[in-house]
Each structure stands twice: as structure tokens, then as C-alpha cells.
Symmetry: C2
Subunit: 369 residues, 2 copies
């Protein structure tokens, strides 16, 4: 792959290592990249995308592949979380069979996290595993597109049916982000900042200084931020692919965040919004453990600067939030597990968090309190 | 694990290596074996079995586990191939969630190949992969329980949605085979003999001499035969886990066999019966490639001795058989891929088999010709 303006980094997983390309004008080079990586022209490709992304980019991607001699079939799924289902898996496996995909074929995810998780599980399970390529088209998906976690939902639990299936490569074309609504930009940047908060204080400071550029989707700033965000993710995933220990730090803000998403009703709070509130909560836990209260103040200030919520909506009942968190068996004995910051840019995993502390913070953070 | 009458062998796959235990009185020691292997008592177990096996062994297994301090929930699926579906996967994932299975839990398959493939895919995909234990209760399942191939069917293709997910161990309790109907015993032995035909001429000779003992389920003979059959399977799988090349030799007789199963209607011909006919066909191909015609005569004689069919039922239309085989894209240019014996006990993979030769053999092998 030529240098130019494209940033490249590697997720280091031995024989499953793969590159992440970040830059502009990349989608129109996908055919060329497939050839460079010796992906066979004879094996048909399945391009999975959703109804909102299909209109914008599917034709272009198909055309580029056709020019390079590849055969591509596009499967469009409805936008939104409900597409992450076994029914949709069944449909896409059918599409793959009808398109004649063989063991050397590739499944491509073109879209946000939902498309990535779903198409990834198709790639993981079709013929017991074929090639997979991620083309994320949201900022949020910089997180889910790296690391190989793929899954669909069950009616009783999210992401419970899945696999670890690393992509062949991740292609981040910044041009595809131009059409994102501002609210989604803010929510996507929440995960970018999270990667700074768990690992890299300098990058948090950089985000702080460059908030305006990031929010206005300045290509240079956004390319750098996604590069740094993906870098933290890849370092962590390289050291602990299957989440035996370290990888859990990526869940900063997610315990409270997931509970808020569930209680508010999925879609009311965007994922990035919910975890921003969650990260403020985790930073307040840090103070209770004796770390500086400035961590919480800084965390809150930065998320506010990015226009993200830092308070729990008044409509969310604290009892329901607690019970959504305590539903998880690990929390059954009054102690909860949390990722807790020890400073801006570093965290620790605590398994001794009294649920009473969490309850206090949930109360403090509710709007109106 | 103590020695006694138990035979043990290892599937050598580096950090995914695992033992196969073959002997009598093993099921009642399963709790003890779990403890020896440091499988945590706190994490609930899901025991998957089918309606015909459940009545015979499920209570006993549950009791043994309870005595060892483990919590087991049993899920019973209907007997037969139709249980290998995404709907059943959905149901079993629900059962796993309701039973509180966590990331350190185990899914056990107690039954034949259908239960093993289905429960194995549950284990592979639940929380992106939990422990899996195989307790095969048929002779045929000595093949499918070793090697980590797990899958469910799609309406358009068998075994198309799956994973490679190696078990923690395979426990073969010969006592569970005592209730097998004779037709299933014969059909199971067909895969045992296949392992001899591809790898070990001495073992084929041994099977030939011990046919009566095997058909009457003599424990000592059966234990030895399953040990030798599993040994061939594990050597091949150890060298090529993901079927890049060598593993394909395990498909001896399967190209014609699968076509016969499909054309006769699933259930009409048992899998072991269909591949016995298929192996006779492959041996006749060997003669066309210039190898000794004695290979085909010997192959036919042995399968007859075991009471297995060696002719294609007259009800199966040759055109349909050919088109079921040619449906596979790899065969599109008039040349077919076959595993062909070069002698009793060794095979080669040929990708230059003229479809006209196959057609001739299909005609020759039809009953009444």
C-alpha cells in the first residue's frame, strides 16, 4: 500500500496479524488492495451493508471491484440493532450460498458496528470461517472494527452468540464519515476519547485542544485521532486477544453505560453518549478509592466540550439502573467489578467496588440532583 | 485418569491438544474427570442430548455430576438431522443463558453426531466460545467427535454454518453402545473401516478377522477398533486441523456417499451405508487410474462381510446422482476431485477424475446391473 496521506498500523497477533488503513480516497482503491493481498479473483465476494449506507457507497464499491475483476454480490440489511439476529445470519448465509461463495471467498462489512458484528459472524461461521474485511463508515466503529469480536444478539442477551474472527484488514476511508449527523460524530468521539483515558494522557490533551477540528470532521485531525484510538485498541487486543484479563480495560464506562442504554430503551441514548456518562461515573469511583478528584472533573469537562451528556437522564430510574447492572452474576455478593481510572490516561480493574458506592454515584449523576 | 481397561490417546494440536478416553464404566467417572482437569465447580454445565439418548443416560450423568458438586442443566433436542438448525441453536443459547452459564462453563454433547455437531456449535458461539466435551454414544460418532468440526445446517446446504472448536476431551463409554440397533452398528463400523482404508492396511486386516466380534459388540474388540479409528483421525487432524490439504483424505467415499444420501432421501440410506457404496466406487476409480483391481474386490468383500451395502439402490436415478455431485462448483469443468485408494491402507487426492468415469461407475454399481 502506498504511503501518501494514508496512515497504517498493524494489529499484532502472530499469524493472524492485520493492517488498519486510515485515510481519504481509500474505497476506490479496494480492488487494488485486494490484489496486493493476493485475495483470489475467482472466489466471489459478499458485501454486507445496511439500508442507510447502501445508497451512498455500495454502487461505487461494486464498480471498483468489477473493474479489478472481482465478482461482488451486495446484501442489504435494515439499519439498526435488530439486524444483529440469527434470522439475519440465516438470510446472509443463504445469500452467500446463492452467490457461490467458496472457502477462499471474502465477506466485507461496509457500515457501522451493527453491520461489522453481523457480517463478521457470517464470515466466522460460513463454511467454518472465510476471509473478512471491515470498512467502517462511522467514527464509533473504529472501536468495534478492530479486535475480531463479532456477534449477533439473542432475545435474552446482547452479543451472546459470536466468535473471535479477526479481519484480513480494516479500511477506514475518512470520506465516508462526511455524511454523519453531528450527534453521531459526538458519540463516536466518545469512544475515541475513551481510548485516550485508559492508555494515553497526551492523546486526551490533544483531543481536548482539537475538539473543534474533530467535531467539524477535519480530515487531518480525524485521521490522527482514529489512528491513535485504533492504536490503543490494537495494543490491548494484541496482548489479550480473548479477553482473559487486560482487554477488559476497554470496558471503561461500559458497566453503567450498558445499564443506561437498557433502561433508557435502546436508541434513546446513543452508545457513545451512555458510556460518556459511564466514564464520568467511573471517574467518581476513583475519588472514592482515594485517587484525585480532578480525574472526575477533567473527564466531565472534556465530554462537555464535545457536547456529550455527563448526567443520567431524569427519566431513568436509579433502581432500574442498579438492577440492570446487578443482573450480572459477578456482582451478586455486594461487590462489583469496574474499570476505574487512576489518573487521566491509566486505569485499573477493581473487583471490590461496593455496590453502595455505585448507587451513590448513580444518584449524584441524575439530572436535577 | 487411571489406566485399567481404558485406552487413551491424544489429539496433538499444541495448546488445543486433548485426550480421547475409550473404555467401559467411564460415564460414572465423569465428575472425577472434570475435577482432574480442573474444570471449575462453580460454573454451570449444559448437557445437550437427544430424545432417544436422554431416557437411557441423562439421569445417570446428572447424578454423577451432582455428587461431584457440579450444577448441570439438561437440554433435550429431538432425535435426527433436523435438530441441526439455527432455530435449535437459538433455543439452546436461551437454555444456556437461563442456566446461568458463564465464560468458564462447559457444554457437553451426549449422543451421536447430530448432538455433537449442534452442541459443539453452541459451545463455539456462546459468549464467543466456552468449553466443550464430547460423549459419543454411537459408533459412527467416533468420527465426528474427534477433530473439532461443529456445525448446523442451512436449508440450502448441510453443515454450512459452523466452526472449528476442539473439545476439552472425548469420553467414549463402550457401555453406551450396547443398545445400538444392528443396522447402526454396521453403519458405524463403515467409518471405522474407512480409517483403516485410508491409513492402515494392518488395521483393515484386523477388522476383517474380527468382524464377528465387532458386530456382536465385544467390548475388547470394539475398544481396540475405536481406538485405532480415532487414532487415524487424530493423526490426520493434528497435521491439518483446518482442512487445507491432508484432512480431505478423510472424505474417502463421501463424494458419491453424500450424493446417494441426498438422492435416496435423508434417512433412507444411513451415512455409513452410503459411504460404504462410495468407497467401493472410489476403489473402482483406482482401477481406472491403473492401480490394482484387487483394491476394489477387497473393499467390496470386506463391506459385504460387515453386512453393508455395496450397490446403489435401484431407486436412485444415475442422472440425479451425477447432478447432486456436479452441483459442487469445483466439478464444473468436467474434472472431479476424488479421494482414490492406491492400495488398501493408502489414498491420494486426485483432481483430474473425468466425470465420465464416475458416471460409468455409477452405472456399474446400480443394483440389477
Amino acid at each position: 500500500m502506498a504511503a501518501g496521506e494514508t496512515r497504517e498500523l498493524t494489529v499484532d497477533l502472530g499469524e493472524r496479524s492485520y493492517p488498519i488503513y486510515i485515510g481519504t480516497g481509500l474505497i476506490i482503491r479496494i480492488g487494488e488492495i485486494f490484489k496486493e493481498r493476493a485475495i483470489p479473483v475467482k472466489s466471489p465476494i459478499l458485501l454486507v451493508t445496511d439500508s442507510s449506507v447502501a445508497d451512498l457507497y455500495a454502487d461505487r464499491v461494486e464498480e471498483v471491484f468489477a473493474n479489478a475483476g472481482y465478482t461482488v454480490t451486495t446484501a442489504v440489511v435494515p439499519s439498526g440493532e435488530t439486524s444483529k439476529s440469527l434470522e439475519m445470519l440465516d438470510e446472509l448465509i443463504g445469500a452467500a450460498l446463492e452467490a457461490g461463495l467458496d472457502r477462499k471467498s471474502t465477506v466485507i462489512a461496509l457500515g457501522g458496528g451493527v453491520v461489522g458484528d453481523l457480517a463478521g459472524f457470517v464470515a466466522a461461521s460460513y463454511m467454518r470461517g472465510v476471509r473478512f474485511v471491515q470498512i467502517p463508515t462511522t467514527i464509533l466503529a473504529h472501536d468495534s472494527s478492530v479486535g475480531g469480536k463479532v456477534a449477533v444478539n439473542h432475545r435474552l442477551a446482547k452479543n451472546i452468540i459470536g466468535a473471535f474472527h479477526q479481519p484480513e484488514f480494516v479500511l477506514y476511508d475518512l470520506d465516508t464519515l462526511a455524511s454523519l449527523p453531528l450527534r453521531e460524530v459526538r458519540a463516536g468521539l466518545s469512544e475515541v476519547i475513551k481510548h485516550g483515558l485508559i492508555w494515553n494522557a497526551d492523546f486526551v490533551a490533544w483531543c481536548d485542544e482539537n475538539a473543534d477540528k474533530l467535531l467539524s470532521l477535519d480530515s487531518e485531525a480525524l485521521g490522527y485521532a482514529l489512528y491513535e484510538g485504533c492504536k490503543v485498541k490494537s495494543i490491548v487486543v494484541s496482548r489479550d486477544e480473548r479477553e482473559n484479563d487486560l482487554r477488559a480495560i476497554l470496558n471503561l464506562g461500559h458497566t453503567i453505560g450498558h445499564a443506561l442504554e437498557a433502561v433508557a430503551g435502546y436508541g434513546e441514548l446513543l452508545h457513545g453518549e451512555a458510556i460518556a456518562i459511564g466514564m464520568v461515573g467511573s471517574a467518581r469511583l476513583a475519588a472514592k478509592f482515594g485517587y484525585s478528584s480532578e480525574i472526575a472533573e477533567e473527564t466531565e469537562r472534556i465530554f462537555k466540550k464535545f457536547g456529550l451528556p455527563v448526567r443520567i437522564p431524569a427519566s431513568c430510574d436509579p433502581e432500574e439502573i442498579m438492577s440492570a447492572m446487578l443482573h450480572d452474576k459477578k456482582f451478586s455478593e455486594g461487590k462489583m467489578v469496574f474499570v476505574v481510572p487512576t489518573a487521566i490516561g491509566s486505569v485499573e480493574i477493581r473487583n471490590d467496588v461496593p455496590s453502595s458506592w455505585v448507587r451513590e454515584i448513580v444518584d449524584e449523576l441524575r439530572e436535577g440532583n
